[in-house]
């Protein structure tokens, strides 16, 4: 099963959802991703990823209130589930363990 691993983009999306707190819906997530990662986030891609994450049980969603913008259509808000949070924390821990093992000099950016 692929479920236990987080893809790089999946992780970014999860982080954004967590960062946006109660305001995490697809368009906002796209904008946020673009702003902080500097790469273009296509709605199609983000939508597919959100859908997959929900299927894996890392996210859950509910429809919000109808508003006048968006042609009167409701937004779907995403929140992290407990497995979602665990997955994020675990992946961060894995990274930090790896970071700590790197000797400081090998990452110096100066020449030579």
């Amino acid at each position: 099963m692929k479920g236990s691993h987080l893809g790089e983009f999946e992780e970014l999306v999860l982080l954004t959802v967590a960062a946006l707190l109660n305001d995490a819906y697809s368009v906002a997530i796209c904008d946020e991703l673009e702003r902080y990662t500097g790469r273009t986030a296509k709605l199609g891609v983000v939508h597919a990823v959100l859908n997959r994450l929900e299927e894996k049980g890392l996210l859950k969603s509910k429809l919000g209130e109808a508003t006048r913008v968006r042609g009167g259509k409701r937004k779907r808000y995403y929140v992290l589930t407990v497995p979602g949070k665990t997955a994020l924390v675990r992946s961060r821990e894995a990274r930090e363990t790896l970071w700590r093992r790197i000797p400081e000099f090998s990452l110096k950016l100066s020449k030579g």
Binding site: V27, R70, K73
Partner: protein, 878 residues
């Protein structure tokens, strides 16, 4: 935002999204797209925003968004059950099924004819490789301010200019039509129909070469390509490459033999001569006209474009070539264009066609009429099914009560109608085979055009037509039955609102009868015009004149030979036979050099006017006698031409000099106006010019014999044997003048036959439908009738009571049909005909009476049958 932005995403894209997307995902996805749409709207304008929206909607079609299709329709147990009930219902109601099957079959046979006809026309020329890349160059010819008219032919100059200037052309073929010659091998002579073509003939088109080298076959002077058929005819074998033949007087070498082209080739020939033969001769003669831009009457250019080159890519070059060419013309404009090969046979109407051609507008008319006839039969089905609904509501009620969905009920009724329609297809195939020979012989052009032998794919179209007809016929009953509420039906079936559809059903009957009556009136008016045209006083005598075509023989020889035949009283000659659809034109000028007009003319000899009883108002006819040139003999004009000259008194014109095509000639006589063309056209400026033996034989020519005989058949036989003495090569071609005129109106007659046939079908279908309705109504009113009878109503009273409603409907149809048809003929179909037959009351109402009679018979017989039933037998059962 108080005022919502009026610019919205495309509605169809929104609907499409909702249709394919899973419902649980649809709403927020639509909202998201809408949000992006509004952003794009603000940033990049409405056009781009809408485009992006559409693209996004398409891009979101992914495995996780698309809803899973329901497979309920393919439940085979239910399907089997539907099939069984349908078959049983059809079988149980033999009368109604019979009416439906026969009606649909009759109407579909028209559809089958049309499909087979169109499929065959579409299959023309498809045997050429790269059929899609082959085009013909056509000319639009415009004289002064007249509307431009299309010609299939082009000038040789255009061929040369296209070769020099245009790019993207893989191959070019130049053809010249009507190269019909007598071909001699040893002492055997045979008339063959031929064309001239250059080497491109083998690179543009695909011919199956049996012998010889196609690359060089048409390269050299006096080369000849034979079809297998004509090689067999001439030599008895196809192994003839290198042999010599004599074409007219010139020696030709056979350079190749090709397989005889199939019927489905618009190019038809027995032989192909090398174009360079003619080209060289004309250039050697220094023919000034040969390379002129307006010499566009006999040559044809075909192009094969390179792959990836569209016809549009050549238009700018063509426009430039046309512009160059038109600089040499004064009062004309000629532009060249491309026409795809697939439109050559079934395409727009054009002058100077080579090979068979069918005007696509006619197919629309025929197609429209067939669709209406088929719809009319579908209405019968719809009408009868809904009328009989009462008997089936219980069945539907039970089905629904035990869980049938609406779509299942619908599919059941659709299946039933498709089943009926497929049964009808079998019957209509039989009808199709029966009607086929009649249809082909309807008009000479069909005979030449099609065999109507359906191919495999045509049968597929037939089946599709049947299924489609079934669906159209069944859709309304299916909707009606599927809407029924089971609880209501089962509680009290009589409360089902059946007669809510009464108005609709009445409208259907009115429609059918309006159509039938309209067609009948159309046939009467058309037939009246036809017989009027034949009996029309043309201003000269056509009785007892027998015309014989010269077929390139010397006119004196033929006249001498035929004049000796007993029964021939007098003899003259002319270039063609007037009033039969043919004409020769030039232009006439009088004193004013700028004022010119179209002049129709014919070459005749001195006895022509006498034989045809054309009245001379002034001057003389041509002097019989020794050879004079056309010019020296002078010209005889009609009154119209006299008026063109600005003169009133015919005597003033005699001795005046006019110019015909720039050549000065003296008027020697004036004749009273007479008709020289078919009645579509008015009498125009007309002139007789002198027929001298020096006129080129290939122009044609006719010998007119004044005959006096009791036994025409014997006379024709005698003439034919006299002909055989002087010409052993060409078969005798002669015809009485009146027959020839009749032939000129063949197309009108053919069209009337087709409409008449459709009228017959429409009437039978309408009568069948009416019969069905009457049977149904009388049966449901059986008890009412019986009670009325017990109360003392007479049989006549009852018949009147029951048939009154139907007759009213027919009356409405009558009131609608007659004025509309009359108007259509008066203002649309016959508006181009100058001499029209007055339409009488009999023409308008004669056919109507017949239809009424038939309807009365159907209604009367059924109502009388019911009225005669002994009331006791019906009422006892209660």
């Amino acid at each position: 935002m108080e005022n919502p932005n009026p610019i919205q995403p495309p509605r169809w894209a929104q609907r499409f999204l909702r249709w394919y997307c899973r419902p649980e995902l649809a709403e927020d996805l639509e909202g998201d797209l809408h949000e992006y749409f509004e952003r794009n709207l603000a940033r990049r304008g409405p056009k781009t925003a809408r485009l992006i929206y559409i693209l996004d909607v398409i891009k979101f079609m992914r495995s996780y968004t698309i809803r899973k299709p329901k497979l309920a329709m393919f439940n085979f147990t239910i399907l089997h059950n539907h099939y069984k009930t349908s078959a049983r219902t059809i079988y149980r109601n033999k009368l109604f099924s019979g009416i439906n099957v026969v009606g649909l079959a009759i109407s579909m046979s028209v559809g089958l004819l049309l499909i087979a006809f169109l499929a065959e026309l579409k299959s023309y020329d498809q045997f050429h490789h790269d059929y899609d890349r082959i085009y013909r160059v056509i000319n639009m010819h415009q004289r002064l301010e007249e509307d431009p008219s299309p010609y299939a032919s082009t000038s040789i100059l255009a061929a040369r200019k296209i070769r020099e200037q245009a790019t993207g052309i893989e191959a070019q073929a130049v053809l010249r039509a009507y190269w019909d010659k007598d071909v001699k091998v040893g002492d055997k002579t045979m008339p063959l129909e031929g064309i001239l073509a250059d080497e491109g003939f083998f690179t543009v088109f695909t011919w199956n070469v049996l012998a010889g080298n196609p690359a060089t076959a048409l390269k050299d002077l006096n080369s000849l390509v034979l079809t297998a058929k004509s090689a067999e005819k001439l030599f008895g074998t196809t192994d003839v490459v290198g042999k010599q033949v004599v074409v007219d007087t010139a020696n030709f070498t056979v350079t190749a033999v090709i397989e005889t082209p199939p019927l489905q080739s618009h190019l038809r020939f027995d032989m192909v001569g090398s174009f360079v033969t003619l080209d060289n001769r004309q250039l050697a003669r220094k023919d000034r006209n040969w390379m002129k831009w307006d010499q566009m009457w006999q040559n044809y250019i075909y192009l094969k474009l390179q792959p990836g080159t569209g016809a549009a890519a050549l238009e700018p070059v063509f426009a430039r070539i046309s512009e160059e060419g038109n600089q040499s013309l004064e009062n004309e404009r000629i532009t060249i264009h491309l026409q795809p090969l697939r439109e050559v046979v079934l395409g727009p109407d054009m002058s100077n066609q080579i090979g068979p051609n069918f005007d696509e507008r006619l197919t629309w008319i025929l197609g429209g009429l067939s669709v209406i006839v088929i719809l009319s039969a579908c209405f019968n089905y719809t009408n009868l099914s809904i009328a009989r609904a009462l008997r089936r509501t219980r069945e539907v009620g039970v089905r629904k009560a035990i869980g049938a969905t609406r779509s299942q009920v619908m599919s059941q009724f659709l299946l039933e109608s498709v089943l009926i329609s497929l049964v009808a297809l079998l019957l209509s195939l039989g009808l199709f085979i029966f009607l086929r020979p009649g249809f082909i012989s309807l008009d000479r052009i069909f005979n030449d055009l099609v065999t109507l032998k359906p191919s495999g794919s045509t049968y597929l179209y037939f089946t599709l037509l049947a299924i489609f007809v079934g669906l159209v016929a069944g859709i309304l009953p299916a909707l009606f039955f599927s809407k029924l509420n089971s609880a209501n039906i089962l509680k009290d079936p009589s409360r089902v609102k059946l007669f809510g559809h009464l108005g609709f059903r009445k409208a259907l009957i009115v429609f059918q009868y309006t159509l039938s009556l309209g067609l009948i009136v159309a046939v009467s008016i058309g037939y009246r015009q036809y017989s009027y045209s034949l009996a029309f006083n043309l201003g000269f005598r056509t009785e007892n004149i027998y015309n014989v075509e010269l077929q390139q023989n010397k006119s004196e020889v033929v006249m001498q030979a035929l004049a000796k035949v007993p029964g021939v009283v007098d003899v003259s000659r002319s270039m063609y036979v007037p009033c039969t659809g043919m004409s020769w034109t030039g232009n006439i000028r009088y004193k004013n050099p700028v004022d010119s007009a179209t002049l129709y003319y014919n070459y005749v000899d001195s006895s022509y006017l006498r034989i045809h009883h054309i009245e001379l108002l002034a001057g003389t006819t041509f002097k019989p006698g020794p050879k004079t040139s056309v010019r020296d003999a002078g010209v005889i004009i009609n009154q119209k031409a006299l008026h063109f000259m600005g003169l009133q008194d015919p005597h003033d014109a005699v001795g005046e000099e006019i110019r015909i095509d720039g050549e000065a000639v003296t008027v020697i006589g004036v004749v009273r106006d007479f008709h020289h063309n078919t009645l579509q056209n008015p009498i125009n400026n007309f002139a007789f010019r002198y027929y001298t033996p020096d006129l080129p034989a290939r122009w044609g020519g006719v010998v007119n014999l004044k005959v006096n005989t009791d036994n025409p058949q014997l006379l024709v036989n005698d003439l034919e044997s006299a002909w055989k003495q002087i010409d052993t090569v060409h078969p005798f071609k002669g015809m009485f003048y009146e027959e020839k005129i009749q032939k000129a109106y063949d197309q009108l007659a053919g069209m009337m036959k087709i409409i008449g046939f459709l009228a017959l079908l429409a009437i039978s279908i309408a009568s069948l439908g009416l019969l069905g309705m009457v049977v149904f109504t009388t049966e449901t009113r059986l008890k009412e009738i019986s009670i009325r009878k017990v109360m003392g109503a007479s049989e006549i009273n009852l018949v009147v009571l029951m048939s009154r409603g139907f007759m009213m409907l027919l009356g409405v149809a009558c009131v609608l049909a007659i004025p509309v048809t009359y108007w259509l003929f008066d203002r649309v179909f016959f508006s181009g005909i100058t001499y029209r037959a007055p339409v009488g009351l009999m023409d308008l109402f004669g056919g109507t009476l017949v239809v009424f009679g038939l309807a009365l018979l159907a209604v009367g017989s059924q109502t009388l049958r019911v009225a005669r039933v002994n009331p006791a037998t019906t009422l006892r059962n209660e």
